[in-house]
Amino acid sequence: MKIVIVEDEVYAARRLENMIKDYDPEIIVAAKLESVSESIAWFKAYEEPDLIFLDIHLEDDLSFAIFKEVPICCSIVFTTATDELAARAFHLKGIDYLLKPIIQNDLQDMIKKYKNQPKSQIPVNPDIFNEIINQKQP
């Protein structure tokens, strides 16, 4: 299984990687990406992984911006520490997410869920995030 971590906080990314390997050393963390621009470049260059842990708030933009540039068809689990409203919206739409700091069991459940899931042929529609973006933030 191939996983890509998109996380702008270095220590958080490293921890997530460690947690994944602790759970299943065979899983390959194909890349740790820190920004939208870096992610776009990588996804254009490389084959899609099986699963992406995608932090919402990246150093150069919100991660939703990636979908406008590159069609992503693989499974995605969003991560966030603070975006409670976004998390609630995901929940309503059936989108998976993990709250940071990530708890080991939650992570394992997610990996289990997506380990043998066949790849979707339909890329993520970037528009579904519009209303999340437009929600007022305090």
Binding site: D8, E9, V10, Y11, A12, R14, R15, N18, E34, S35, E59, D60, D61, L62, F64, A65, A81, T82, L99, K100, P101, I133, N134, Q135, K136, Q137, P138
Partner: protein, 598 residues
């Protein structure tokens, strides 16, 4: 004939008879007595050879010529007696004729008038002297007869009236301007009738060339044997005097006008009497001029001031010269007392010491001052009233304002509370996320992180209710907070704080800097290659500046802006200058006012 002879012998008049050849035929004894000649001396001798020696007067030849023509002659003759002494006679020579009318001879009767003639001669001489004298006089001297014909004019007169030669015979009225003729006639008649010496009649003289000049004439009648035959007098050119008089009058008029129109009362007092008063003084005292002039000045002075005034006046009348200014009370005609400022000096009036006094009615001035004072008082009252009203309305305004502020405060406080509750969990979870990551990866760093996180949270809890906090305390908290951020955003964030020690005891609202830094992170991208740079310093205007380079995130989460507004409102609650936010092409700048620590 004998009878006549006897008569002729007896008469006192000298009688002699001449034949037609003017030879003596008879002389009476009176003739001998008068002339000293006897019959032997003169009979058959010619009157011409004998008697008339020297030709003093024209009458001599006239007599001879008349008699030769056979006519009567009467006149005065100067004759010489046998002793060669001259004597005057009044002569009546009458020719006598025959039946055919031929002159046979002359009877001559002589009366001795030597005595009378002596007087006349003396008179003539004195007249001559007088004439000579008058010729030398610088003034014009004239004589005229009763018909107004000029009978004499001296050299000075000829010159004064600019005649080439003596104008004797012309009318005296030619010398005086026609408008003065009636007056002149009147004066002359009066002089003649009343037999008086007219003194100083002024006329306008007219010169030969028609030019005019002022003259004064002193005239007196001329008598001849108790009968007035004309007038004589002196004419004096008074051009210069007139010019001087005019100049004097003009200057007097000027001064008089000045004094009359003066606002101040002006009087001259001499020997205790008013000698002059101007209109202003009359108005001031309400006395007409006529009731003041020549009256004692002291009666206008109030009783209590009389002694002083009187003393001063006596000193001045003795000729002492000094100036004095003082106030005194004057009693007006209507009995009212006015206060007057007196400024007097010793002067001279008609050649004697007098006092020149300038009086100024202070009552009017004092009244004006009083009016002014009462007006000021009224104004003051109005002012006080106005101030009271302003104060009232400003009080009401203040109450309203306070109410409004209270409402705003309550509103803001609730907003602030909400904000705090929202900020804190965000930060807490972000920090916990980092800490969790660090625990296995970097245990030592995790420990430090925990310490700093504790500091931050303690600070937040301790100061969340404070309105202000020392900059120094806030900066210490900020160090801890930045430490946490730098671990979270490794190499993506630079915060540079440059605050001198001297400024660290100003105050700021708590968490303002933290909020601004959080804001900067929220709205800008940050990466290792393009880190977010935040500079914190104090500018020349003593504002705390929080400046970050602008690299805005493409997708901005729509912000309520409540964070920035919250900071502003918290300063507003302190009645302080509020922070300002400025966004330039390259930077976002926040200027936070520093509050003095009382």
């Amino acid at each position: 004939m004998e009878k006549f002879r006897l008569v002729l012998e007896q008469v006192t008049d000298s009688v002699f008879i001449l034949n037609k050849n003017l030879n003596f035929e008879y002389i009476n004894p009176s003739f001998t007595q008068l002339s000293g000649y006897t019959e032997n001396d003169v009979l058959n001798k010619s009157l011409i050879d004998f008697i008339y020696v020297g030709k003093i007067f024209e009458s001599d030849t006239h007599l001879i010529e008349t008699l030769r023509k056979g006519e009567k002659w009467q006149g005065e003759l100067l004759s010489i007696n046998k002793m060669d002494n001259s004597y005057w006679v009044n002569v009546i020579a009458t020719p006598y004729k025959d039946e055919k009318g031929n002159v046979e001879g002359y009877t001559v009767i002589q009366q001795n008038i030597t005595e009378q003639h002596g007087i006349k001669e003396a008179l003539e001489q004195s007249l001559q002297k007088f004439r000579e004298l008058t010729e030398m006089l610088p003034q014009t001297v004239y004589e005229m007869d009763l018909n107004g014909i000029q009978t004499y004019l001296n050299q000075a007169g000829i010159k004064a009236f600019r005649y080439q030669s003596s104008p004797i015979g012309s009318s005296a009225f030619d010398f005086i301007a026609h408008e003065d003729h009636a007056r002149m006639k009147e004066n002359i008649q009066k002089s003649i009738v009343e037999n008086i010496f007219t003194s100083g009649n002024e006329y306008t003289g007219v010169r030969a060339d028609g030019t005019r000049f002022p003259v004064v004439v002193y005239g007196a009648p001329i008598f001849d044997k108790n009968k007035v035959v004309g007038t004589r007098g002196i004419i004096i050119d008074i051009s210069e005097r007139k010019a001087m008089e005019n100049a004097l009058r003009e200057s007097e008029e000027k001064y008089r006008a000045l004094i009359e129109k003066a606002y101040d009362g002006i009087i001259i007092v001499q020997n205790g009497l008013f000698k002059f008063t101007n209109e202003a003084f009359c108005e001031m005292t309400q006395y007409p001029e006529i009731e003041l002039l020549e009256k004692p000045f002291i009666f206008t002075i109030a009783e209590e001031d009389r002694q002083l005034m009187s003393d001063y006046h006596k000193r001045r009348m003795k000729g002492e010269e000094f100036q004095s200014i003082y106030r005194t009370h004057i009693v007006r005609k209507d009995g009212k007392t006015i206060i007057v400022e007196i400024n007097s000096r010793t002067t001279e009036f008609n050649g004697e010491s007098a006092v020149f006094v300038v009086t100024r009615d202070l009552t009017r001035r004092l009244k004006t001052e009083e009016d002014l004072l009462s007006t000021q008082k009224e104004l003051k009252i109005l002012n006080v009233e106005l101030e009271r009203r302003i104060e009232d309305s400003s009080k009401k305004l203040n109450i309203a304002k306070t109410q409004l502020i209270t409402l705003q405060k309550e509103n803001l406080q609730s907003q602030f509370d909400v904000l705090k509750q929202q900020v804190n969990p965000h930060f807490l979870f972000n920090s916990l996320n980092v800490l969790t990551s660090l625990i296995k990866l970097e245990p030592d760093l995790a420990e430090k992180f925990s310490e700093h996180l504790s500091k931050v949270y303690r600070y937040v809890l301790e100061n969340k209710d404070n309105e202000l906090v020392d900059l120094n305390t806030e900066l210490k908290f900020l160090d801890a907070y930045i430490f946490l951020l730098k671990i979270r955003f490794v190499n993506k964030l630079n915060v540079n704080i440059d605050i001198p020690e001297s400024k660290r005891y100003y105050q700021v609202i708590p968490l303002a800097l933290q909020l601004l830094i959080e804001n900067a992170i929220k709205h800008n991208t940050m990466s290792k290659s393009n880190p977010l740079q935040i500079d914190i310093f104090i500018d020349k205007q003593n504002f705390l500046n929080i400046v970050n380079n602008l690299q805005e995130r493409p997708t901005q989460i729509i912000s309520t802006g409540i964070g920035l507004k919250n900071i502003q409102n918290r300063y507003l609650l302190l009645n302080n200058t509020i922070p300002v936010f400025e966004k330039t092409e390259t930077h976002f700048i926040t200027k936070v006012p520093l509050v003095k620590n009382d």
